[in-house]
């Protein structure tokens, strides 16, 4: 299953965002940020303590089951009293949830997390970004490994000169996508795919912001 992967913002940034907000309500999310330990019950509790230590009045908190879901409005209604007493909402879901909540309440929202990527859990506690939804999928030519995402530079014609021992030039802990793709294509006997010159990508497959209306 894919998850929205988040990381807590640094204290300094949170402090700055909350500078003029003295009464806050805190939201967690029972789905992705619970799984990644960034916005579950425990982290909401810790946030409550942190904000109290900074002299904020926490009017209440809740962990919404799925902050990005349309049903969230029901959860919001259940806490409307405490929410109304707050001047700002500190939200420990991913940015999808933040926007969902913001669209439903006339309140200042403060994301407590940075949303890093939509990732797949590839091991216990390990999440990898495998697709950035680019709009013009090339997986059919790369053996099912995404160069747009897995290559730091999004290169589609093979490795750059920085690749070293199968790792990426930016981080010895990150695989070079093009070593992975080469190995995969070699395994399935499709290296000719890599030899084919790829013209420059279409970066406007779906010009941002994406919006689709299903027909019929």
């Amino acid at each position: 299953m894919i998850r929205s992967i988040t990381r807590r913002k640094p204290d300094e940034e949170l402090d700055r965002l909350l500078e003029h907000q003295n009464r806050v309500f805190i939201f967690g999310c029972g789905t992705c940020t619970t799984l990644t330990n960034t916005g579950g019950a425990e982290q909401v509790q810790a946030m409550q303590e942190y904000l109290a230590s900074k002299g904020k009045l926490v009017t209440g908190s809740t962990v919404l089951p799925v902050a990005c879901d349309n049903l969230t409005h029901e959860g919001l209604r259940a806490f409307s009293g405490q929410i109304n007493q707050a001047s700002a909402l500190v939200i420990m879901s991913c940015a999808f949830g933040v926007q969902n909540i913001a669209s439903q309440l006339q309140k200042m929202v403060i994301p407590a997390l940075d949303t890093l990527f939509i990732g797949k859990e590839t091991g216990v506690g390990q999440f990898n970004e495998v697709c950035t939804q680019c709009g013009t999928c090339v997986l059919g030519e790369t053996g099912g490994i995404c160069p747009v995402t897995a290559c730091h530079k999004g290169l589609i014609n093979g490795p750059c000169g920085g690749t070293n021992n199968g790792k990426c030039e930016i981080d010895k802990n990150k695989d070079c996508a093009w070593t992975l793709i080469y190995n995969r294509l070699a395994e399935i006997g499709q290296l000719d795919l890599m030899k084919r010159f790829q013209p420059p990508r279409n970066h406007q497959g779906e010009p941002s912001p994406g919006k689709i209306l299903l027909e019929g």
């Binding site: 730091h152 530079k153 999004g154 290169l155 589609i156 014609n157 093979g158 490795p159 750059c160 000169g161 920085g162 690749t163 070293n164 021992n165 199968g166 030039e169 930016i170 093009w178 070593t179 793709i181 080469y182 070699a186 290296l191 890599m194 030899k195 010159f197 790829q198 013209p199 420059p200 990508r201 970066h203």
Partner: protein, 295 residues
């Protein structure tokens, strides 16, 4: 008309290129000094483009200066900082101002440089940039629109003969040639036996190859490169040799080693030329050339 550098390549003479590093700032004195010193000694000077993703005076401006001072510039262009509109526009400008050699590079990640939070563009890659040059030469832009006045360039690219693993690198190398690269400058090569194997393979392609020579300045610098520079391996014997230099004599040792390498490349006709990188010590290039019997 073919550029002077292109003519030198075509004549089949042993070609020598070196580097010009634009400064961080607008004081161009040191660069001007290097250009003056080298312009009549080397066949062309590569002008680096925000090398290692460190913001500097632009390569285009420095290449113009080389030209104006009577030298032969090779404009290095990376895909890191410009999208395809900006790259094409700069190629038009370069050609119009008489800069007719270009080295197409993907470019290092911004994460490695001094503006670590910048956006890396990479709209194109090095092979696509070579293809773009060829298209502009046909009087069309990349979108297929007619140009009012076409460009012409001697276009090249790079390869890392000691990359590990090598196979993916060679596929990219072949794509660059297929896209129209006429010359290849290599990452530094120290193990010439290895390099000979690479050249045996590379000779089957219609491309001129200039071996990269990086001046060793000290044993720690050599070790640093082994550890941190992708695809560069300084053999232990060279490191030992550098370490054996008397105090203050390391640079001389480095010059000797580079000279020896150049000599062997010339004597054994291993490739078509050398690209001498004296990183920050460009004033030593004539000494290296002399040590290599080129002056």
């Amino acid at each position: 008309m073919a550029s002077k550098f292109k003519q030198a390549l075509d004549q089949g003479k042993f070609v020598v290129t070196s580097e010009v590093a634009p400064p961080k700032g607008v004081n161009l004195e040191k660069m001007a000094h290097h250009i003056e010193l080298l312009k009549d000694k080397v066949d062309a000077m590569n002008v680096t483009d925000h090398q290692s993703s460190v913001m500097r005076f632009p390569s285009l401006g420095a290449a113009l200066m080389v030209k104006e001072m009577g030298g032969e510039p090779i404009l290095q262009m990376t895909c890191r900082d410009r999208n395809r509109l900006a790259l094409q526009a700069d190629l038009l400008f370069a050609h119009q101002r008489g800069i007719n050699n270009v080295l197409c590079l993907t470019g290092d990640s911004v994460v490695l440089g001094d503006h670590k939070t910048a956006k890396g563009v990479f709209d194109l890659d090095s092979s696509q940039l070579v293809a773009a040059v060829r298209k502009l030469e046909k009087g069309k832009d990349m979108a297929g629109n007619d140009l009012d006045g076409a460009v012409s360039f001697c276009a090249g690219a790079i390869v890392t003969p000691e990359a590990n693993p090598i196979q993916p690198q060679l596929i990219k190398f072949e794509k660059k040639i297929e896209a129209g690269a006429e010359f290849i400058q290599t990452q530094a090569v120290y193990d010439l036996e290895n390099f000979k194997n690479f050249m045996e393979y590379a000779r089957q392609f219609p491309v001129k190859v200039l071996a990269g020579i990086i001046l060793l300045t000290s044993a720690p610098m050599a070790r640093f490169m082994n550890k941190n520079v992708a695809g560069v391996t300084v053999p232990q014997e060279f490191i030992d040799e550098m370490a054996s230099a008397p105090k203050g004599g390391a640079i001389q040792k480095g010059i000797q080693i580079a000279g020896r390498q150049i000599k062997q490349i010339v004597d054994e006709n291993i490739c078509d030329g050398v690209h001498i990188m004296a990183i920050g010590k460009e004033e030593l290039v004539p000494d290296i050339m002399a040590a290599g019997g080129l002056l």
